[in-house]
């Protein structure tokens, strides 16, 4: 994340066509420098400030107890934005205490087709070696761990130099790119995993002694682990279950851990909290834009819509970009409370109409996305289930877990208020496939 803040080149709130498109680019998670300008606090409409609660739990941890936070959410719910904000907040001193946050983007260290505990431990070591205030050579366990890892790398077929600081770029590249090598390394490591875990524990402890006294606690934030694809391990077991339910719980370091995980594990038979000692799970939900089930008539969630309106107003000049409140309300409703979808829909408007955008522009822009859902949904066996979810706000108890995963991952069904209730994406509801599957049709 080395790009410059967007406000260096764009004046907010945007007014022109090109500017509106740039201001609503869904592919730009907010970096810390952009937060002040563009971040809207959604916590009140997402069932509370979940990220703030994580920060509080870390800050409230007593003496040498460490928290493990497991974070997930749908694509586009703002995970990365929120984790970057968390890292930024934890680095700020509060009550005389700040944290040394090591932010690890899994992409930089891991190969998605072979992510296991040994590689993750090596990535923690490499990330520490890259920290400017840390010199692993001045620790006792750093060189020892590196020697151990080097030995395993050699057995896996790669000789590597003895100076870890110099070799980190090569190590990262090897772990990311060479799948065969990574698999060999993991196999070689399996007999030594306890030693490696013990050494990384010692290393983290020693590193903390090099840090300033008021910032000597370390928080590892490991982002993008949720993108690891599921598959089978060599023993024909689910990779997700192996990594997240068996191996990662073994990682016991004297630091706070914030790990992302695939949302599908929310629906796994084995609960994450059962296997992680004292871990807390956080799912970042969508913003509610429709009232919860249970009411005779379910209207708009006024608070949710107002919050998304404020979020949008930070980016575009609503009174000049839209003809009226009806158009603004329309596009917010069609987003289903998914911030990324909202930004995409508004960002697409300049391609179908002139400013100011009307309700007709909203209709034109959603047409392509409805078609997209149409093609995905046609012929799918789960269509009748969608009507049950729309009506009850819940998955029936006997729902096929594979369907559940597919519906949630593909944003066909959206989760609100962290599992409290679900709804079908408004664009999916507009498809003929959905309507044709209605029990009333």
């Amino acid at each position: 994340m080395t790009r410059s803040p967007i406000q260096d080149t764009l004046t907010f709130p945007a007014v022109g066509r090109r500017e509106v498109r740039a201001a609503c680019d869904p592919s730009r998670p907010l970096i810390p420098e952009e937060q002040g300008q563009l971040h809207e606090d959604l916590s009140i409409v997402q069932g509370g400030d979940r990220i703030g609660q994580i920060e509080n739990r870390i800050r409230d941890a007593w003496a040498d107890s460490y928290v493990c936070e497991l974070v997930t959410g749908h694509a586009g719910c703002g995970k990365s934005t929120e984790l970057l904000r968390l890292a930024s907040e934890l680095r700020k001193p509060r009550e005389g205490r700040a944290y040394h946050v090591v932010y690890i983007d899994a992409y930089d260290y891991l190969n998605p087709f072979e992510v296991r505990l040994p590689q993750l431990v090596v990535s923690l070591m490499a990330a520490l070696a890259e920290e400017p205030r840390v010199d692993l050579r001045k620790t006792r366990s750093g060189p020892k761990l590196w020697d151990q890892v080097r030995g395993l790398l050699t057995k896996a077929g790669r000789e590597i130099g003895s100076d870890l600081a110099k070799e980190v770029p090569v190590l990262k590249s090897l772990l990311r790119v060479d799948l065969k090598f990574v698999r060999d390394f993991r196999r070689e490591s399996s007999d030594h995993i306890q030693q490696i875990l013990s050494l990384i524990r010692d290393l983290v402890l020693e590193v903390r002694t090099q840090l300033p006294a008021d910032q000597s606690e370390i928080v590892f934030v490991v982002d993008n682990l949720e993108k690891i694809p599921d598959g089978e391990t060599e023993t024909k077991v689910s990779l997700h279950e192996t990594l997240f339910l068996r191996e990662l719980p073994l990682l016991d370091v004297p630091a706070h851990l914030v790990l992302t995980y695939p949302i599908s594990l929310n629906y796994s038979a084995v609960a994450l909290r059962q296997v992680f000692h004292d871990a807390r799970q956080t799912t970042i939900p969508m913003v509610g834009i429709r009232q919860k089930p249970g009411l005779a008539v379910r209207g708009d969630d006024v608070q949710g819509i107002a919050t998304l309106r404020r979020l949008l107003a930070r980016r575009v000049r609503l009174d000049q970009v839209f003809t009226d409140e009806g158009a603004i309300l329309g596009v917010i409703r069609e987003s289903g409370g998914c911030v990324r979808d909202l930004l995409r829909l508004v960002g697409e408007m300049p391609t179908v109409g002139a400013i100011p955008f009307s309700s007709a522009t909203v209709d034109a822009v959603i047409a392509d996305y409805i078609n997209e859902y149409e093609r995905i949904l046609q012929g799918k066996s789960y269509l009748p289930l969608l009507h049950t979810i729309e009506r009850t706000g819940a998955f029936p108890g006997d729902t096929d877990p594979a369907w559940k995963q597919q519906l949630l991952l593909g944003l066909i069904v959206l989760e609100y208020d962290t599992g409290t209730w679900y709804d079908v994406h408004p664009l999916a509801k507009r498809t003929r496939a959905y309507r044709a599957a209605s029990p009333e049709s």
Partner: protein, 373 residues
């Protein structure tokens, strides 16, 4: 030289919006264009190449993924803009390969803006788009524009996937793999001419799927020579039918009819197998469709051919016949029957995990609904 293809007014409008979206973007942007491989896709690529570097659209470099190539590695080196094709993959493991490539894009998403400074335009089939939607939500949710090029409704024969009437009931094959097999087979002594003929026929079919018609003709010529000395009448009839199918794909209906007549003569020189007979009949009916003979009689004859193909142990081709029959019925206003045919055929393709024709039928079902709204 690729000849321009008429995409139709609706698709032209979609393409105009795509151009507008590309011109309005200031930096990295992900655009997805769903269009099946074949002439329509080649036309889309031709238009994208024509926009490149003009009227505000950044320069766009065409990147075609070869067998086993990594999309992210292929994007290395920095680009102003990219049109990426080839995520469909080919060969027996194509579903797995596509899944790997989609996973890789999902995993590497945050780095893509470093590799491509401007638009990254993915040109994909419905099968790949569904895979992106379901398996790579993080990556896919970054799209700033998404469009679909729909088949032209007045040319139903052309709209169907090319290989539906290929010489073998196989999924799309990788031409590179076939060429390698041919190289090994050609080295055999004594020469395995009939096998070579079959391989060249498969190569022609694979090339035809990509719209590479010059290469198709060359492969068919070699297959013709091989079959002339070592093939059976059924082999030769199959070859002539494939020539007819290729002509049909190019819109040359009269030429296709000539090939059909020659195939019939060849097959009748001996007692043809029930499969060849049914294929000849099916091809005749498809030519009638190309001539827009939308009649109830045609629908009935397609139903008979489907039964014969099933009896001949060719369920894929039988489902193809059902797909076509659905088109006729839809045209005749017998929507419920059309849907029933497509649904039956769709179940067959799904069971055999033939994703492309299955996705195509899903689109037909969706479009049929749309026209009734």
């Amino acid at each position: 030289m690729i000849e321009p293809v008429d995409l139709g007014a609706e698709n032209d409008e979609r393409m105009a919006r795509l151009r507008e979206a590309l011109a309005l973007g200031g930096g990295f942007q992900l655009a997805v264009v769903q269009v099946e491989p074949g002439e329509q896709r080649e036309e889309v690529l031709r238009r994208l190449a024509g926009w490149s570097g003009r009227n505000g659209v950044p320069p766009l470099e065409l990147v075609r993924l070869g067998a086993g190539e990594s999309p992210v590695m292929k994007l290395g080196g920095g680009h102003a803009g990219v049109i990426l094709v080839g995520l469909e993959s080919e060969g027996p493991d194509r579903a797995e390969r596509t899944r790997q490539m989609v996973t890789e894009l999902n995993w590497s998403r945050d780095r893509l803006p470093d590799l491509v400074r401007g638009p990254l335009v993915l040109v994909v089939s419905q099968r790949v788009q569904t895979e992106l939607f379901e398996q790579a939500p993080d990556f896919y949710s970054w799209r700033t524009h998404s469009t679909s090029i729909t088949p032209q409704p007045r040319r139903p024969g052309e709209a169907l996937p090319v290989n539906w009437l290929g010489i073998e009931d196989t999924d799309p094959e990788d031409p590179d793999v076939l060429e390698s097999m041919i190289a090994h087979t050609e080295a055999l002594r004594p020469p395995a001419l009939r096998e070579l003929g079959r391989l060249y026929l498969r190569l022609a079919s694979a090339r035809s799927r990509r719209g590479e018609y010059a290469a198709v003709d060359a492969a068919l010529d070699v297959a013709h020579q091989a079959y002339a000395s070592a093939g059976t009448p059924d082999d030769r009839a199959n070859l002539l039918l494939l020539r007819g199918e290729v002509a049909r794909r190019r819109g040359r209906v009269d030429e296709a009819s000539d090939w059909l007549n020659r195939a019939r003569s060849e097959a009748r020189s001996v007692s043809p197998t029930p499969h060849v007979v049914a294929k000849l009949q099916l091809f005749e009916l498809l030519l009638a469709l190309d001539r827009e003979e939308w009649t109830a009689a045609l629908a009935d004859r397609l139903a008979v051919v489907a039964v014969r193909l099933d009896a001949a142990g060719r369920p894929t081709r039988a489902d193809v016949a059902r797909g076509y029959r659905g088109l006729v019925l839809e045209r005749l206003g017998r929507h419920a029957e059309a849907r029933a045919e497509w649904t039956t055929a769709l179940a067959g393709f799904d069971t055999r995990e033939q994703a492309e024709p299955a996705e195509y039928l899903r689109k037909l079902l969706a479009e049929s609904d749309a026209h009734r709204d």
